[in-house]
Structures are given as structure tokens and as C-alpha cells.
């Protein structure tokens, strides 16, 4: 097991901000390849449970050196209510947060309801967990908090988990469900998702007064620069203001309002979605599509790489069957500094409707060359800082379906759920009219349907099946350190 060669872009926070921020924001903890996500139900918890949990698994700060163990903690709206926040205080958060991911109107928008034709991207029986706030469609399991424990190896993680679980037991907090997360690198040091594709390649690079960049000055990265405020409350965001987080009344000992506490400061919203991947169905669908093309040069892998938009090792597909050359200073890492307008306007290389192009169209939606920089800027107003990991065993190397559950625990940070996560999901991923395509959605995440692969002179068009299914999810609030103290001290 080695360090990932494709290291996340180097940035950190200046000391004062870093002290108040969870390490989860600045680091994927790539040096701690095993982890477990505990989805906590604190419905019957004793008072002061948060203090006990924090002692057993203190949330890692963003200013420390790499440690042997790290943790992150975040809360759903119902979790904050269980910690004593009132209705009025919760309304200080953004609407999607307190309405919940499973509000009927939101489910329709996020593609989490069965479609007219019964097409569905839900697991059988529907999603199993959420925060279950009032007004949302209920799920069998209720989650109040997410605690992620990261460790260097499985033995240490197990030992730590036993400690933490005994503390949870003593506080009458139960784990509604848990997912063992992993970051298994292959022998080339590449982290791959279950279908076999190199993953986690493209991340936004925050900039702003509170950001320290290792490799360059304070200038925003030309392709991936995003103001810090889009990921951390209280810092300037891409709408020309400090991103507004929740503020709460600060009660003095006598109980009268003496001012406001900036509960959001250096916190963020964490979007979590448990996605099951059916690897066998994926390759079956890709092979079937390839067979239907009637072109012996195009196999299942060719189709799969078009659906993703990169080839399996992560290199961008370019017109003429080429891929983007790797950058000299990182010979093993795919290059990520590219737009689509100049090199691949029609999508002959990376299809316009492919997963990577839908999840971040960069400058590819520009109607002409002049507007390409503007369109890149506007696409960057909708970036997500991704912190997801896969769960479940690797798919058997012999290709025989073992029937086990595996997938991705999607975790992404943003400070404006509507403008960032929901926008990406609705306007790009699931948009049936994305970039003038007609009647198709994302070939990976969307429901079964057609998929167009542009080609010179004539496009290919074929059907793809459903192989990623939604099994549970919610919007969490990932507090800063001072906010955690405040929540803990709440009577």
C-alpha cells in the first residue's frame, strides 16, 4: 500500500482558520486507508452524549500533523434538534438542510423517486436511512449524526471502533447502520472505484485570504480555483459575500439573549449519499451495448470509457482515439488542467453526455470561443469538494458475480446545497436536455435510457441500464471546532 500518486492539490488553511476547522475539510486522510462510517441514532441518548463521543473519537483539526487516527463528525437537522436546537434556530440553516434530502419535492428533483415509466435508481425497498425530518418521506432508519473513523490499518480501526462503540452503548446511542470504507490503491498507487476506473481525480482548489497553497501564490487556479467560501461558512464565496451559515442566539447564564454565536463559522454542509454499484450489471450492459454497435473495434471497455469520459486509468479521452498526455511533473497522474471548448467541442473524444462532462462541464457549454472563460467561471460556481470513499469488497477478479453489496459512500462539502450539489444533480447529471441532448441522462448515475457518443461523421446511440442505486442519504452540518464545543456545552 503506497501513498496515492495522484495527490490531492496541495492547499491548507491559515493557522487561525485551521484551528477552528475539522481536518475532513482539508484532507481526504489518504494516509489512513481504512475507515468506518457510523450512522448514529441518538433518539434515546443520554444528555451529554456528544461530550463522551468526542472524548472517544475527537474530531481531527485541520491544523495538525498527520496522525495515526483521525475522525470527522457531522449532524443532520434532526440530530441538531436532538441536541437541543429549537425550530427557530434550525430555520437559520438553508432550507434543503432542514427539509431534508427526502422531502417529496426534493426527491423528485434529485431523481430519487421512481419515474413515470417506473424507471428507478433506488435500491429495492427504497432508501433505508435519512434524518427523517418532519415533512420528508420517512425511511426505516433514522440518522442523527455521522461519525467517520479513519485508521492506518484494519486491526487498529477495529480496536478503536470497539472502544467507540462501548462509549456509544453507555450513552444509549446506537449505530443505525455502518459502512466499512476503504481507499484501496492498486499496485500503481491509483485508487479505483468498483467498476475499475481511477477515481477522485478532479477537485476544486479553494482560494482566498484564509488559504495557503503549497505550489503557487494566491492566484486562483485557472481551471479549478473556487473561493473558499463555497466550502466553508464565513469566507467570501462566489456570490460576493461571506457564505452565510446559521447564527444562533447566545444565551447568558441568566437566560436572556446577549448576542449571537456564529454557529456556522468554519463549518460546511456535508452531502452524503450511499450508492450501491452493481458491477456485474454494469459490464453486462456495456458488453450488450458494444455488441449492438456492430463494430468489432468497439468492445465493452470502449463503451464504458465513453460513459465515464476518461479511460480506465483516468486519462481524459480526446478526439481521434487519443488521450490527454500526462503532465511531466506527475508522470503517473492524469492531467486535470483542461477545458473542452478548445480541444473537444463536439465531444468526439470525451462524449458531451459522459459522466465527467456532465458532473463538471468546465467551459464545454460555451456557445463560442469568446464566452469560454466566462462559462468556465460560471461552471466553477457549482463545484463540490468530494470526500467520498468506496465500501464493500472488490469485485472478484474472475468476473463472477458474488452478489455482495458494494458501492460508494458519496460525501461532498458545499456551503450552498441548492447552488452546488442540487444544481449539479439536477441541471447537469439528470438534465434530459443537457447541452441539447434529447431524452438522456447521465449514463452512469441516471435511470436506464439512451446514451449518445458523438463521432465523426455520425454519432453512436445506444441504451444503457441502471447499475447505481441510491440506498440512503441526508444533508449534514459539519461544524467547526468552536461550534462543536458550543453544541457539546448545550444544556
Amino acid at each position: 500500500m503506497g501513498m496515492p500518486v495522484v495527490a490531492p492539490p496541495g492547499w491548507s488553511l491559515e493557522a487561525r482558520t485551521a484551528r477552528d476547522t475539522q481536518g475532513f475539510v482539508v484532507s481526504p486522510f489518504a494516509h489512513l486507508p481504512v475507515a468506518v462510517a457510523l450512522f448514529l441514532d441518538a433518539g434515546k441518548a443520554r444528555r451529554g452524549w456528544l461530550r463522551a463521543v468526542r472524548q472517544a473519537a475527537p474530531a481531527t483539526r485541520a491544523d495538525g500533523q498527520q496522525q495515526g487516527r483521525s475522525a470527522a463528525i457531522a449532524f443532520t437537522a434532526t440530530g441538531l434538534a436532538a441536541l437541543g436546537l429549537g425550530e427557530a434556530e434550525l430555520r437559520g440553516f438553508e432550507r434543503p438542510f432542514w427539509e431534508g434530502m427526502h422531502h417529496p419535492d426534493r426527491r423528485r428533483r434529485l431523481g430519487d423517486l421512481p419515474g413515470d415509466g417506473g424507471a428507478t435508481t433506488l435500491v429495492e425497498g427504497g432508501p433505508r436511512w435519512s434524518g427523517n425530518p418532519k415533512g420528508a418521506d420517512p425511511t426505516p432508519l433514522t440518522v442523527h449524526a455521522l461519525l467517520v473513523l479513519y485508521a492506518a490499518d484494519a486491526a487498529d480501526l477495529d480496536a478503536w471502533r470497539v472502544e467507540v462503540e462501548s462509549v456509544l452503548d453507555a450513552q444509549s446511542v446506537s449505530a443505525a447502520c455502518e459502512l466499512p470504507l476503504s481507499l484501496r490503491f492498486d499496485r500503481h498507487g491509483v485508487a479505483r472505484e468498483h467498476f475499475g476506473f481511477a477515481d477522485g481525480l478532479s477537485q476544486p482548489i479553494p482560494y482566498g485570504d484564509a488559504v495557503r497553497r503549497k505550489d503557487s501564490g494566491p492566484q486562483p487556479d485557472p481551471w479549478h480555483g473556487v473561493p473558499l467560501g463555497d466550502f466553508l461558512f464565513g469566507h467570501p464565496n462566489s456570490h460576493n459575500e461571506p457564505s452565510p451559515g446559521p447564527a444562533v442566539e447566545e444565551k447568558s447564564a441568566a437566560g436572556d439573549a446577549t448576542g449571537f454565536f456564529d454557529l456556522g463559522r468554519n463549518g460546511s454542509y456535508l452531502v452524503v449519499r450511499e450508492l450501491h454499484q452493481d458491477v456485474a450489471a454494469f459490464w453486462r450492459s456495456m458488453e450488450a451495448a458494444a455488441a449492438a454497435l456492430g463494430d468489432p473495434t468497439k468492445d465493452g471497455r470502449w463503451v464504458a470509457e465513453r460513459a465515464v469520459g476518461r479511460e480506465m486509468d483516468g486519462d481524459l479521452l480526446l478526439p481521434g482515439g487519443k488521450t490527454l498526455p500526462r503532465v511531466p511533473y506527475a508522470p503517473h497522474g492524469p492531467d486535470n488542467a483542461f477545458g473542452f471548448r478548445a480541444t473537444d467541442r463536439h465531444g468526439f473524444g470525451c462524449p458531451v453526455g459522459s459522466h465527467v462532462r456532465r458532473s463538471n462541464p468546465r467551459d464545454g457549454l460555451a456557445p463560442d470561443d469568446e464566452s469560454a472563460p466566462d462559462l468556465l467561471k460560471s461552471a466553477n460556481n457549482h463545484r463540490l469538494l468530494r470526500r467520498g470513499r468506496k465500501f464493500g469488497d472488490d469485485f472478484p477478479a474472475d468476473g463472477q458475480d458474488d452478489g455482495k453489496t458494494r458501492g460508494l459512500l458519496f460525501m461532498a462539502l458545499n456551503t450552498d446545497i441548492t447552488r452546488q450539489f442540487e444544481f449539479v444533480q439536477q441541471t447537469w447529471i439528470l438534465n434530459r436536455a443537457f447541452a441539447t441532448l434529447q431524452g438522456e441522462t447521465d449514463p452512469l448515475c441516471g435511470p436506464a435510457g439512451p446514451f449518445t457518443v458523438p463521432d465523426d461523421p455520425l454519432r453512436w446511440r445506444f441504451g444503457v441500464e441502471t447499475f447505481i442505486r441510491f440506498a440512503g442519504g441526508e444533508y449534514f452540518f459539519l461544524p467547526g471546532m468552536a461550534a462543536l464545543d458550543w453544541l457539546e456545552a448545550r444544556p
Binding site: D105, R108, R109, G117, S238, H239, N240, E241, P244, L293, G294, D295, H346, A366, P367, D368, S371, D374, L375, K377, S378, N381, H382, D416, T418, R419, E422, F423, Q426, T427, N431, R432, A433, A435, T436, Q438, P454, D456, P457, L458, R459, W460, R461
Partner: protein, 554 residues
């Protein structure tokens, strides 16, 4: 936007002709897909069958300009709830047809979009606004709308106040028990014309959009068997498709009608020129007066002094950033400024800017407009059902003489400009092309500004487009309204305050009680794509380069 009918079907006879064209076009374009079979069982359109009927060489409904208008009627406050119920019933009724809204769609063949909204706010009695976007002049449109939903319209008028103008008698005759008098003339009489409007697919009539959608569908079906085209070059594919489709689609051989008729183009330019002249005259009026009344040497002197004073004031109001933005960058501009200075026009302009900045510094933006939780929930439940959405908003106009002039001049100029700019004619506002029909209109003697838009995608993405791509024009149109985020010089900042702008816009909206789109599954971009495919197929031959670009659209 005046509505002189240039070459449009002005008579009921023409409507019949249109209907014939639609009979040919509609069945193939079938937004609800497989469900269509439920309504008209054997009509599932197999391609050759629908296209077999030879249409006339050039279907008549293919040409014409579009009309945007709205009708504003004061509602009797006691009957507002009743009116909402009428709209809801109408909506349920039309949604019950299979495909949804098919009856209205067939009955009013020129209609693109129509909405009916009840706006309520604390300062006014409720108003009912019917916003309509259609082909051709209003007369035939109202006649066909009356034929389609006349009784509903009458029920709506019955919930309204008796007007206090000349239409009162008409109102009485319409709402009387068992009245048979047509309602449409009353609506026509209450029509408000847009102060500024925009169209995504200008010059494409509904018949043409539908016929080109059907053609696109036919092309897709031809391409379904891709093996047939293996090894072909782009010009070869073009030729093969043309060969296959020509026997069934006769109009491919007819000359492609102009989207904007010559007369319309001329009138657009003339009106813009007229506006420019009027604006110039307005700002030069004081100088002209001064030249006439004062000794000749005094005017430039006074001009210099006043300009200097105003420039100083501006510098204070606007800050260094602003004044550097106003500093002349080139010799030519410096020359023009010198001329303006000498002639005495410059101080007028600077003075108005000072006045404006003074007002802008004292206008209070509304950071947290009140949110009606129930109304927001209803909007949320209505939106994102189809690819398109609808937005209707009413806001108060800021007081004062300068604002009254600026909002009229700003909107009027913006509207005229959008009618001639090549980008805007192709549907673009800056680099966004998601609006089918949108317009601003002043109501209540200019006390309120209405905005209506029929757009693609989600409300959030629409507003983000405004904020990221078209904030200048948006700010110009809306910064004269109460509570708008702080703007500078009518153009800067304003809508770039994204979150505040969204909150303000959402708070000004009401649920669109009834909303109809003739082609809910087509975006502006897709309509243009289908149009380009059709235009390509009309041409007997394409060069290899043209053919390659064209084949990318297939």
C-alpha cells in the same frame, strides 16, 4: 413591442389554414410519448402514415412574428380565493386530457405559452394577470382562446372588480347571468404591452417548431439503423437522409421562410434609431436652451464649471473604482467628451449620474424579503415537472421623477436593443439561451413592474444564469424597483449579489395558477438544433465542411 401584423394570418380563414398545417404537424410531435395511445387509440403515429399526406409546398403557418402581451385585471378581494379555485379547476380539467393539455393545444394552434396568475400583496388588492405568447396578431388569438375556454374566462371575470374606466359597460354585459357576449374583447381591452421582451426562438412559429420536431424524430428513426450509414461521409449521410425523407416531407423542397421579415427588421431598426434620437434630444435639451438664451461664450464656461463640480461629486459617490471606469480610454472618446463638454451636454449627463448615485446611495436593499412559507411550498411542488418552468413576479417601482424616466427609458431601450442585436435575435442573452418568452411590463401607472418568463431548466439554474452571465441587463431592468440588491449606475453589482437577488426574486413571485406550454419537452437550444437540422435538409447539397458541422447535430 408593437404588434402590427406584417404578413400574419389576420383572418379566421387563415386560422383554418393553420389548423390544416397543424393537423399535419402535431401528431408526430408527441411529448407524452407512450401514453398518447390512451386518448386516441389508433393514432400512434407510424412515421410514413403521418407524413404521407402531402402538405402544401410551404405550410402557411411557417411564417410570422410572435406577440407577447399580458392582461391585468383587478380582482375583487372577497373573490380571490374563488378565482384561485377557478384556475385550479381549469388546470385539473386540462391536465385530465390525454396527452395533458391536448385540447387547449389543438384548439389554439397559434399559442406557445399562456399563464394565469393571481398576485397578492399587502399594498394592493389582488390582480389577475393572463400572460400570453402566440403567433400573429391578438385578434385571431383571442377568438380561438374564447372558443377553447370561454366559459372559464367568464368565470374569471366574474371574480374581478368592475372596472372604473370605459370598459365598465362591457364588464357588466359579460358577467350578467346567462350572458353570451364574448369575453375576449374585454381581455383585449385590458391588454398591457411589454416594456421590454425577449424571445429564444424568434420567428419560429409553433407550426414550424412542431413540424421541425417531427422531422427531427423522423431523422432519428432513419438513423436508428446505423449500419445503413456505415462508411458514409457527412455529405453522403446528408444526401441519404434527404433521399429517404423527401418523398414524405414535401416542404423540404420549398424555400425556407425568413424568420424575421424584411418589414419587421426595418421597423426594429427604425424604432431603435427613434429611441436613440429621442434620448439624445432629451439630454441635449438644456444645452440647446442655453445656447439660445445665453451669450455664446458663457455656455462652454458654465459647462466646464458644472462638469467639474459634478465630476468631483461623482468621484465622492462612486469611489475611485467608478471614476477610473469612467475615465476616457482612447483619444476618440476624449474627443467626443470634449465636444460634449463644449456643447454643454456633458454636465447634464454628469448631473443625472450624480442624481442617480445620490438616489442609489439612499435606496435600501431588502436583505431578507418576507417569505410566505405556504406559497414557496406550492411553487416548489409545481416546479420542475417538465423541462421548462414559469416565473411570474410583481415588484414595486422606486419613487421619484428620475426613476420614472429611467425605468421607462431603460426598459424601452433594452427591449429595442434586444430586437436588433444579432445575438439576442438568435436567442442569446449574453451567453445564456434558456428563455422561450420573457417580458417586463409596467402596470398601475408605472407603480409596479411585472416580469414573466417561460424558461428551460430549474428556477435555481435560471437565476444562476442571470447572476453569472446576464447580470448587467437584469440589473438595468430591475434596479429601479424597491428592495433590489444595491446597484451602481443602473448596470453594475445589483444582480451579482446572487443570494440576495434570488431571495428578492423568489419573494416577488406568485404560484402560476394555470400554465400551459405547447412544447413542454423542448428547450430553446433543442428547437434551434432541430431547426438547423431541418435547414440543412432543405439544402440539396452541403459542402463537406458544412455537412460535417451539420452531422454533429444529428
Amino acid at each position: 413591442m408593437s404588434m402590427r401584423s406584417a404578413d400574419l394570418m389576420p383572418s379566421p380563414a387563415a386560422i383554418t389554414a393553420r389548423q390544416a398545417a397543424d393537423d399535419f404537424a402535431i401528431p408526430a410531435f408527441d411529448p407524452s410519448g407512450p401514453h398518447a395511445a390512451a386518448g386516441a387509440a389508433p393514432r400512434r403515429p407510424a412515421l410514413p402514415a403521418i407524413l404521407a399526406r402531402k402538405p402544401p409546398e410551404q405550410p402557411r403557418g411557417f411564417t410570422g412574428r410572435q406577440t407577447i402581451l399580458s392582461v391585468v385585471v383587478e380582482v375583487d378581494p372577497k373573490k380571490a380565493a374563488m378565482l384561485r379555485a377557478v384556475l385550479e379547476k381549469l388546470r385539473n380539467d386540462e391536465e385530465a386530457t390525454r396527452p395533458k393539455y391536448d385540447r387547449l393545444k389543438q384548439a389554439v394552434p397559434t399559442l406557445h405559452f399562456i399563464s394565469m396568475t393571481v398576485f397578492e400583496d399587502a399594498h394592493h388588492d389582488p390582480v389577475l394577470v393572463v400572460e400570453a405568447n402566440f403567433d400573429g396578431p391578438p385578434g385571431p388569438f383571442w377568438a380561438s382562446l374564447e372558443a377553447a375556454i370561454g366559459p372559464w374566462l367568464r368565470d374569471m371575470v366574474r371574480c374581478c372588480k368592475r372596472p372604473r374606466d370605459g370598459t365598465a359597460a362591457m364588464f357588466d354585459a359579460i358577467v350578467a347571468d346567462r350572458a353570451r357576449l364574448p369575453v375576449a374583447p374585454f381581455f383585449e381591452a385590458q391588454t398591457v404591452r411589454p416594456a421590454a421582451g425577449h424571445q429564444g426562438n424568434r420567428g419560429l412559429t409553433r407550426a414550424r417548431i412542431e413540424a421541425e420536431a417531427a422531422l427531427f424524430q423522423a431523422v432519428q428513426e432513419e438513423l436508428g439503423d446505423r449500419q445503413r450509414f456505415a462508411g458514409m461521409s457527412a455529405p453522403g449521410i446528408h444526401a441519404a437522409l434527404r433521399r429517404a425523407l423527401l418523398p414524405d416531407i414535401g416542404w423540404l423542397e420549398a424555400e425556407s421562410p425568413r424568420r424575421i421579415a424584411r418589414a419587421e427588421n426595418t421597423s426594429d431598426w427604425l424604432r431603435l434609431a427613434g429611441f436613440g434620437l429621442a434620448a439624445l434630444l432629451a439630454v441635449s435639451a438644456p444645452a440647446i436652451l442655453a445656447w439660445l438664451l445665453l451669450p455664446w461664450w458663457l455656455v462652454p464656461l458654465l459647462s466646464l464649471a458644472a462638469s467639474f463640480a459634478f465630476a468631483l461629486v461623482l468621484r465622492r459617490y462612486g469611489g475611485p473604482e467608478t471614476s477610473s471606469g469612467l475615465l476616457p480610454p482612447s483619444l476618440r472618446v476624449q474627443g467626443a467628451l470634449a465636444l460634449l463638454l463644449f456643447s454643454g451636454v456633458l454636465p447634464v449627463v454628469l448631473g443625472v449620474l450624480c442624481w442617480l448615485r445620490w438616489l442609489e446611495g439612499r435606496d435600501q436593499p431588502q436583505d431578507a424579503p418576507p417569505v410566505d412559507e405556504e406559497e414557496v411550498r406550492r411553487m416548489s411542488a409545481r416546479e420542475d415537472r417538465v423541462l421548462q418552468n414559469h416565473m411570474g413576479s410583481v415588484v414595486l417601482v422606486k419613487p421619484g421623477a428620475l426613476r420614472a424616466v429611467l425605468i421607462r427609458g431603460g426598459l424601452w431601450g433594452l427591449g429595442l436593443l434586444l430586437r436588433v442585436l444579432p445575438e439576442a435575435r438568435r436567442g442569446y442573452l449574453s451567453s445564456m439561451r434558456t428563455i422561450h418568452f420573457a417580458h417586463w411590463a409596467l402596470v398601475g401607472n408605472g407603480g409596479r413592474l411585472m416580469f414573466f418568463s417561460n424558461y428551460d431548466g430549474t428556477w435555481e439554474s435560471y437565476l444562476d444564469d442571470f447572476i453569472e452571465k446576464a447580470h448587467g441587463g437584469l440589473t438595468l431592468a430591475w434596479c429601479n424597483c424597491v428592495g433590489f440588491p444595491p446597484a451602481r449606475f443602473l448596470w453594475f453589482e445589483g444582480a451579482t449579489h446572487g443570494r440576495r437577488f434570488k431571495a428578492w426574486a423568489r419573494s416577488s413571485m406568485a404560484v402560476s395558477g394555470f400554465w400551459f406550454s405547447a412544447y413542454p419537452d423542448l428547450t430553446v437550444e433543442q428547437i434551434e438544433r432541430q431547426h438547423a437540422v431541418a435547414e440543412g435538409l432543405r439544402r440539396p447539397e452541403l459542402t463537406p465542411k458544412e455537412a460535417a458541422e451539420w452531422a454533429c447535430l444529428l
